[in-house]
Amino acid sequence: MSDLVVQDAGPLTTIQDLGRPGHLRVGIPASGPMDREAFLLANRLVANADTAAGLECTLIGPRVEFTDERLIAITGADMAPTVNGAPVPAWQGLRVHTGDVLKLGPARSGVRAYLAIAGGIQTPPALGSRATYVRGRLGGLEGRALRKADRLPLGPVGAARPHRLHPDRVPVYGGEPELAVVLGPQDDRFTPRGIAALFEAPYEMLPQNDRMGARLKGAFIEHTRGHDIVSDGVALGAIQVIGEGQPIVLLADRQSTGGYTKIGTICSFHIGRIAQVKPGGRLQFRRVTVAEAHAMLRQSLRALDTAIE
């Protein structure tokens, strides 16, 4: 049996796969990677199925040891990866051997790095998924973040060759990413000035952000009549605005329902961008229609399918 041995876990390293959609109606979020594109690319670089489970590493990466030979790939935030102390490239498949130690350091840019391992992590699925939902103590390893000395079972590997990403497709974090937003469901509860404010100038990421949601700071968003609504369902990427007129974006491990106005929703293909903005970093919202969003979604899926050499 082949394991991944955790020598040092980092502050928040969790097992993720594409998540468990279908249970939001009973309050269980889908979870899954915060930056889905980076996660998918990691799997594809080692010829894994998209559904294989890997690691999401937050701000500071883990140190892990391999117990056999297989392919791995690191994507997402730049955590200056090394194998046995020697720097290794991200965004391409690498071969590791028995006893090799991979170390991911503090993120130099971006927030979340992904580690895919050929064969995938094979902890027991919960409700059809291995994704960790820490607040609900569900999935992953005992429903929790990884700790020192954890051993994660790995699946069998076939003969696969490593792939690499087209160099011009490697994302650059730390700029001011633009995020497409469709207005609604409660945009009618905001004044024209409030809606204009959302799109006018960039918002800053505050330190209060996690897998559940991210608080932002910027121009005041004005309501027409208060911020309370009769509670309704909360979609991934919903931009909730409460009393102080500041946005809170609801993410992978969000609450399923809420009683506050939601001015708009960040499109699915741009959720990964907000997941890579560090506290103090900035982002810019751009208003799009549903039809424009669907055209952009098609384009982003095509780009993802042609990103690997």
Binding site: V26, L138, P185, V230, A235, G258, I266, M296
Partner: protein, 248 residues
């Protein structure tokens, strides 16, 4: 508070929208939401993803590469004509033992004092009612219910607690809820049930479903402790009247 004359379809990004039937909390409007969700799920339409019912709205996830926004909203308009409570499967009634007052129901006394009732009387009134689950959510397995006698309507706490133990049976406004995981809370805690509303180790971790009825059976502390032991050992099943299969 209103029921819209026409349903409103409100975009929630590129992969979801909300169907809203009004902005009030009534059994009637909620039953239409649950019936609409049921009919949509029965149809097994390609491209339709998960759905989230709430008081007066249904959040619908979809894959726009498989089904268009206009086509799907047109389908839902059609289904709404048939979305009546009668289409739903028979309701279940779930009986939950509840230990009122004392250490577990630590706000029974102040709540009773606020309403000018004796604590025993307040607990009796609360336990006599038939509760209806509008929807389950916020945290995993948490039921949003009404059904209390009007006499128990109470403003929410002015200073919400940071931690409420799971199983806490609580009231605020006209609503009753049971905390499913440890979480902050602004409702008055009247008692606690030893039954788990959310058990991440169980094959089906969630006990209650939208549309269920809940009855509370008052128990004393000794019985609470005995049931809690059985729950921990996986030996306890709450009494459920009506069909056990769910639509989830």
């Amino acid at each position: 508070m209103t029921i819209w004359s026409e349903p409103r379809f409100l975009p929630c990004g590129d992969r979801a929208f909300s169907v809203e039937l009004g902005d009030e909390i009534t059994r009637d409007i909620n039953a239409r939401i649950l019936a609409l969700e049921y009919l949509l799920q029965q149809k097994r339409m390609p491209g339709v993803g998960e759905t989230v019912p709430s008081y007066r709205a249904l959040l619908v996830y979809y894959d726009p590469l498989v089904v268009g926004y206009e086509d799907l909203t047109a389908t839902l308009r059609g289904l709404l004509a048939e979305a009546r409570p009668e289409v739903l499967p028979p309701v279940r009634t779930v009986e939950l033992p509840c230990c009122y007052g004392g250490e577990l129901g630590f706000e029974l006394e102040p709540a009773a004092a606020k309403l000018g009732l004796a604590p025993d009387e307040m607990a009796r009134l609360h336990a006599e009612a038939d509760y209806y689950v509008y929807f389950v959510g916020f945290t995993p397995g948490l039921p949003y219910m009404t059904g209390m006698p009007e006499r128990l309507t109470i403003p929410r706490l002015t200073n919400p607690r940071l931690k409420t133990p799971p199983g806490s049976v609580s009231i605020g406004g006209v609503q009753c809820c049971i905390y499913s995981v440890e979480s902050p809370g602004g409702f008055w805690v009247l008692g606690r049930t030893p039954v788990r509303l959310y058990d991440p180790t169980a094959p089906d971790p969630i006990l209650l479903r939208a549309g269920d009825h809940v009855r509370f059976r008052p128990i004393d502390r000794a019985e609470y402790d005995a049931i809690a032991v059985d729950v921990d050992a996986g030996r306890y099943t709450p009494r459920i009247a009506g069909p056990v299969a769910t639509t989830s």
